[in-house]
Symmetry: D3
């Protein structure tokens, strides 16, 4: 059984994440998706709760042909302990898929294989870009899976983001 | 969409949990399973990591005819904040299934419906009983789903429990 | 200006506390009342929130002829830092009134005067005794100020205590 | 009994806060004043301890014709839990008075009424402006109640601020 | 360069610890001594601060013919992260010397060699026994190195212990 | 016995620190060196673990003619408690040596003498400058003691820093 680990903040989950995960699904038997900074929400950089992000991911992957786990991972503010923290919260895995330089370094120091998946249309498909578009009332729905649009509509995600970004 | 929330420590997950969840599956559209005290492991009362418990549950429910989420929930040592904590980590739910008096009180004060499912052979089907049997080399494998036996064999769960329970 | 500090958990505030505070009021210009273990609630030993305890104390002392502050003090689990923690949360004070051996030691090591007020009917006037009576449906209302009875009625304090003390 | 909740950092408490509270006092039976970021002090943005801020507020309001509570509220770094945290530390309230966009959003999601009081001379009456003046030896005492001047003199507040803002 | 790690709470440091460390000194090039539960003090089970314990150990080993490090290690309440925590606070080491069943298990799961040193007169040479004797005014000074007696005299360690163990 | 306390982050330990400590060694009987922000590592501003920093310092001072203690000090994010935190982790001391404005203020408020040692070639001998040179492949080894070069070579310190500073 080969398991791959993929982590992100998913604020929100978008088509770039989906493409990467569909690729990983062809390489491993099971995928573990870590929802990073799980404790954060209601911030301009981190508007959505871990539970909302779990729901976006799970629904977007409902027809993925590979079993997966979606696990909230709270920050611990201790880089030297972070890999042990991740491993205590997840089923065992062999490979980490990440392009984040710190994540790459921490897993490598722990002796775990790291692969950096190619990313697709990275300027456009980024949480920063999508939140920027929500704040400026520009089109963003094409950039995320349809299941994510439904979740964000249900919780009025764009409304929340605009409110918390308002001036005092 | 009706979602039900069920929480336990699952040290380990056993046939009593399985029976309750199979019952809940007939009542709701989706189940959210909270893995409580997620930060604890390697203790006589809490031998298994959250990741190991997530794996036990997910595999045991692989043929359940109801979508489910398995979410580690770390303790926060603040009872008055616990419901908000749970809700931030989970998709929205309508009903909590629990017999624990504190859980019942906290959800009721938060205005959430709580149902207490009947439990089956409670003396026998309890984490305490199963850990006791592991420690005393008595038969325990009949009390848990076969998927749990496989996980515990893979991680040498009984060996870990006996070691940490040893005398200094 | 002479200020005195008095700390307790006040689970609940009772006539013994009231008597001590009425005595301290004759000795100082202002009283600071620290509500200890402020983060705890919904436990058999600590059923009431800090806010509920602040309300019990403030109302019971409404006719006290001495200005007072009521300040929740969260535990920090570091005895060596506790005096600094208390002082950061309170106006400056000269004297601590306490009979608790640890509190006495910590303030003395910090060079602060500690006085141990006589306590009145200590067996009867104790949080432990009052919670025991609530749990066993025995009379307790005579042991607390009338304002406390009203607060506990409003929040159904005795009902909460009985529920959380119930068997699983 | 109608209670209103008002929160600020009060670094320091100034005439703008005083004006708002005098207005709220005409609308409710009791006021609860939350002293936010209570754990912070000795920073350029947060020079004063919670205890010092409690003292500034309490003395400035000594002739207010409305009972009030002054409660330190430590940050919890979890926006989704913050309303539950505040409510556990305070007497129950019906209305929150705030213009802060995040506070407004969090209380509204929790189903609590929020009113945004008009603020008076906001450029001038702000903690930022007053700390700036203290650092640059410009006049600031007219911007705060006289009781605040006395507290700051007693603790040498301006001296502390200038020292911690110094170059290494 | 071969380094050995030895951990204890050292409440207080005694002749049993000294004997074990003198033995380890013959096996390795450098010793790392972890002062566990560093954050605890002023408790009947943990009366002394980390700083006091560092001083007891350093002075008692002043003539040891092996370089050593003495490092306070705060608890993290997460067994699965504890080895990573220890390693982040200490120079790298090859071997852990411990008889504590949990420590043994955690280091073994991390792939680090663990040796269990023989202990000498274990009933007598234990922190529990020494604290018991201090509390009951029985002779204890023979059970600890002379440097420890001097530290405990300087801080009135026995006096502190008796005070905090007193009845309320 | 006169003890002096000196604190830094030592990211990394350099010749400026060494010069100051050699000066302090002529003034006191024992030196306590606090390794600040001990919990941080693997950040561009804080690349090295506390254990790595302890090793750099201890080896660089191996021929210092003054006994010294090297103690990791984790941040506590509470300035008002920081002096008590430091004192709980260290042997007692009389004098703090520091030029940091906040450290000076906090120790002075606690009634402890603070001396500000002259610093030597401060533009050049700073952690910021050395990390900048590591990142830009410019010469830095002359700025630190030879023992530090050896530690950094052993752990590939410069390589770690460049990796974590990389673009995503």
């Amino acid at each position: 059984m080969k398991r791959g680990f993929y982590i992100g903040r998913f604020q929100p989950y978008h088509n770039g994440h989906q493409t990467v995960l569909e690729h990983i699904a062809t390489k491993v038997d099971e995928i573990i998706i870590g929802v990073g900074s799980a404790q954060l929400s209601h911030q301009v950089e981190n508007p959505f709760t871990a539970g909302e992000r779990v729901m976006m991911i799970t629904r977007s992957l409902s027809s993925l042909d590979c079993p997966f786990y979606v696990i909230p991972i709270e920050d611990i503010q201790r880089n030297a302990l972070w890999v042990a923290h991740v491993r205590s919260m997840t089923p065992p895995f062999d490979t980490c898929y990440s392009s984040n330089p710190l994540v790459v370094q921490l897993f490598r120091e722990a002796g775990i294989e790291v692969l950096s998946p190619a990313m697709y249309e990275r300027e456009l498909l980024s949480g920063t870009e999508i939140r920027h578009r929500m704040l400026n009332k520009k089109p963003w729905k094409k950039l995320v899976p349809r299941a994510v649009v439904r979740v964000l509509d249900e919780i009025d995600g764009a409304g929340r983001l605009c409110q918390i970004a308002g001036d005092d």
